[in-house]
């Protein structure tokens, strides 16, 4: 009995829907659309379950690694006057220039840190490989100013362990889509289109592992994201010994702040994965998306990056190479003159060729 008192809303126009005793169906008095009672109940259930499950994107467990006594004794900290970067290295390595902005650094004293990294991917590629990669990076770039190539001091390349937060999570999801199937046909007088509306629901889970988010504010996020992917199967437990000969940075962006970036990426991938299972429709539009994250874990990791800065025409350019895979990234300056030379040169060549060709065709030469 109680069921009969429930008000249903029309999925088509949102109006209050009534039972039509003549039709033995639910009929919307506003838009005249008819529904089976069963269909409406199911649809209502879907709507309710959507409302009952608010979006949750909280990361659970925090990393809690602590330095052991004496572990940081051999580590020194340098501070950059210019960008404020804090560089950590062991006593055997002397940093003279900030790897992020290229300015001279000064020794600040002994290292004091909050968190001990959980894991580290050791450098696989040495400085020579980085120099070669840089040379390759400049090669074949026709719009690169010539002077930029010759004036560069690639000796300034520094191997830096960049702090990353690695997020693991299981994503539980329920997505409701409004989908349509359109069929068209015609007779002698009319063209017909039949649009069938569906409420499509997909629920389930998908897991993500080691989504890296750069915890260092000195390096732009898009630069570190461009270095992806890292092979985390080669990650090992952190030992200070790995720092020997390299610089390291301390994280200055907290795990909570980084979580937002990871959330957005998980959300987008989850939606894409589930939407790809909705097939056979003409249009598919998500109506409600509920994503709940569980078993969230964050790790603190140091990832190997070769960094190089250079200043050209008053602008600073930062280049980076993935110290594990050798992927080299960094935007290069453009020679505006060369741009127009190529633009107009190709335009003139193509135009003349076309003109010649058209004359040959016209005059049947």
């Amino acid at each position: 009995m109680v069921d009969n008192l429930i008000e249903y809303k029309c999925p088509c126009c949102g109006g209050k829907i009534e039972f039509d005793s003549g039709l033995q169906k639910m009929k919307c008095p506003f838009c005249d659309t008819e529904f089976d009672v069963e269909t409406l109940k199911n649809y209502d259930d879907i709507l309710k379950s959507d409302k009952a499950a608010p979006n949750e994107m909280n990361w659970g467990k925090k990393p809690s690694g602590a330095w052991q006594d004496g572990e940081t004794d051999n580590m020194s900290v340098y501070i950059c006057d210019s960008c404020g970067g804090e560089i950590v290295c062991d006593d055997t390595t002397a940093a003279t220039h900030c790897p992020f902005c290229g300015n001279p650094v000064i020794m600040a004293g002994k290292f004091t840190g909050e968190l001990r990294p959980d894991c580290v991917i050791p450098f696989k590629l040495d400085k020579e490989a980085a120099k070669e990669a840089f040379a390759r990076h400049l090669k074949g770039k026709r719009l690169l100013p010539k002077a930029f190539k010759t004036d560069n001091h690639i000796d300034e390349i520094k191997g830096v362990y960049v702090p990353f937060w690695l997020f693991d999570t299981d994503s539980n999801v329920q997505i409701t889509y409004r989908a349509t199937k359109v069929r068209a046909w015609s007779d002698s007088k009319y063209n017909y289109t039949d649009t069938r509306f569906y409420s499509v629901t997909r629920g389930g889970s998908v897991s993500f592992q080691n989504i890296p988010v750069d915890g260092c504010s000195k390096i732009p996020n898009d630069l570190t994201e461009s270095l992806e992917p890292f092979d985390f199967s080669q990650a090992v437990d952190f030992q200070t010994a790995y720092l020997s000969g390299y610089l390291a940075d301390k994280y200055d962006v907290s795990q909570e702040q980084c979580a937002d970036i990871a959330n957005a990426r998980v959300r987008k991938s989850t939606e894409t994965e589930f939407t790809s299972t909705v097939v056979g429709y003409s249009t598919v539009t998500p109506q409600s998306v509920n994503i709940k994250l569980s078993n969230g874990k964050a790790k603190y990791a140091l990832l190997p990056v070769w960094l190089m800065t250079t200043t050209w025409n008053g602008r600073q350019y930062l280049f980076a190479m993935n110290g594990q895979t050798g992927k080299f990234v960094g935007d290069l300056p453009m020679d505006v003159g060369a741009f127009f030379k190529w633009f107009l040169g190709i335009a003139a060549a193509v135009s003349s060729a076309l003109l010649l060709l058209s004359y040959i065709v016209y005059f049947d030469l």
Binding site: T33, N42, L143, S188, K189, T195, I211, E225, L344, L354
Partner: protein
């Protein structure tokens, strides 16, 4: 003396004998040229009546170019239409005729040739009923002849001359100077003679209250333009009062210049008219006509909308479009290439998803429902092919020429507009 008289007589006789066939033949030929408008199988008309009827029928023919016959049969006519057709066909020089046929039971009026396009069947019935009301065959026929004459007069029908009365260029609106007029007329004459299809250009200030199409059709018909029996030709009329232009096509011209073909032509020469460059416009028109006719004669198919792309453009047109086209394409290719080279310098971009970090095989779908809610059927009317009153002729619906009849009953194609 007697001998002399005999020889003189003999010469006279020889002359007479020799001249007799000439007189005789002249006599028969004039007999054949005289149309017998009255055919009286019944002998109910007196010679005087017949002569009067012949005279009034001949007058109508002379004034309007439409012949009139009356046929009095002593037998019942089973198929009046075909009986009339026989009479019409036997007078081979006639291309328009109205025939009244009377048998002991009934009276019929039928129209043939151009006349069938001048009078509707209702009008013919009207004439028949009016004439039948008279007493006696003489009165019936004379009423019939005068009624047809009056109606032709009201419609402004005139006889179509056998010969062309005016030159192929009539510049009454004085749009061309003497030099231009001479050159253009020469060109029109050359094209017309070569192609055996009259290409005529007429400029007028006022169109005397007619539509431009009516005026162009009538001007063509009543000035005897057109080659051959079908009066093959095309006429371009310019009316300066309302800045009208109209094309009228006749005979083979209807097949050569289809609706789409004319549209193409007007797209080419009307812009010149709008700029006041009348001579250039007329030259363009004449050249296009020449080209269209040549193409029709070569292939047997009219240049139509779809063929326009196949038409070889003039060297100037070609140079203009190929230079502009090449420069545009060249600039586009050059720009795209430069942008590609520019993008080469960019290697930094954000990652927006976590696809790479999906644990393989971890995607589990636990809920899967595809619930049909409702459907909406929309119906839109298909564009229908309107059947309008004008006829069409040609290979297919889209490529043909639409035709209409002018006041003289002649069939014309054409188009019109303002500039």
């Amino acid at each position: 003396m007697r001998k002399r008289f005999i020889s003189l007589f003999a010469v006279f006789v020889i002359i007479i004998v020799a001249a007799a066939p000439a007189f005789a033949s002249k006599d028969t030929s004039s007999d054949a040229e005289t149309p017998h408008h009255v055919i009286d199988d019944n002998g109910k008309l007196s010679d005087k009546d017949r002569a009067a009827l012949e005279k009034s029928a001949a007058k109508v023919y002379g004034t309007y170019g439409v012949d009139i016959f009356v046929y009095l049969s002593d037998d019942v006519i089973p198929h009046p239409q075909s009986a009339g057709e026989k009479i019409y066909d036997s007078k081979s020089y006639v291309n328009a005729a109205v025939i009244m046929m009377c048998d002991p039971d009934d009276t019929y009026v039928c129209a043939y040739g151009r006349a069938s396009h001048i009078f509707t069947s209702d009008e013919l019935d009207g004439i028949c009923t009016l004439s039948e009301g008279q007493k006696g065959y003489r009165k019936i026929f004379s009423k019939f002849i005068s009624e047809v004459g009056e109606r032709l007069n009201a419609l402004g029908v005139q006889p179509i001359p056998e010969e062309r009365l005016l030159p192929r260029l009539v510049d009454d609106a004085e749009l061309l100077d003497g030099d231009e007029e001479g050159k253009l007329l020469k060109k029109l004459d050359r094209i017309s003679e070569d192609q055996q299809l009259d290409v005529v250009i007429v400029t007028k200030y006022s169109l005397d209250g007619k539509t431009s199409t009516q005026y162009a059709d009538d001007f063509f018909d009543y000035n005897g333009y057109g080659f051959g029996q079908d009066h093959d030709g095309i006429l371009l009329l310019i009316g300066m009062e309302d800045r009208d232009w109209a094309i009228s096509t006749t005979g083979k011209g209807i097949d050569v210049f289809t609706d789409k073909g004319q549209q193409y032509m007007t797209d080419r020469f009307v812009p010149y008219l709008s700029n006041g460059e009348y001579y250039d416009s007329f030259v363009e028109f004449a050249d296009l006509c020449d080209e269209f006719i040549t193409r029709y004669d070569e292939t047997g198919v009219a240049l139509d909308y779809g063929d326009m792309s196949e038409r070889k453009p003039s060297a100037f047109e070609f140079a203009r479009s190929s230079i502009i086209g090449s420069i545009i394409v060249g600039l586009a290719v050059g720009f795209i290439n430069a942008i590609i080279l520019m993008r080469d310098l960019k290697s930094v971009s954000s990652q927006t998803d976590a696809r790479t970090y999906t644990v393989q095989g971890s995607l589990k779908i636990t809920t899967r429902s595809d619930l049909f809610l409702y459907n909406v059927v929309n119906r839109t009317a298909r564009p229908s092919n309107d059947s309008n009153s004008s006829n069409s002729r040609g290979s297919s619906e889209n490529n043909g020429s639409s035709t209409h009849y002018s006041s003289s009953g002649e069939s014309h194609g054409g188009s019109s507009g303002h500039f």
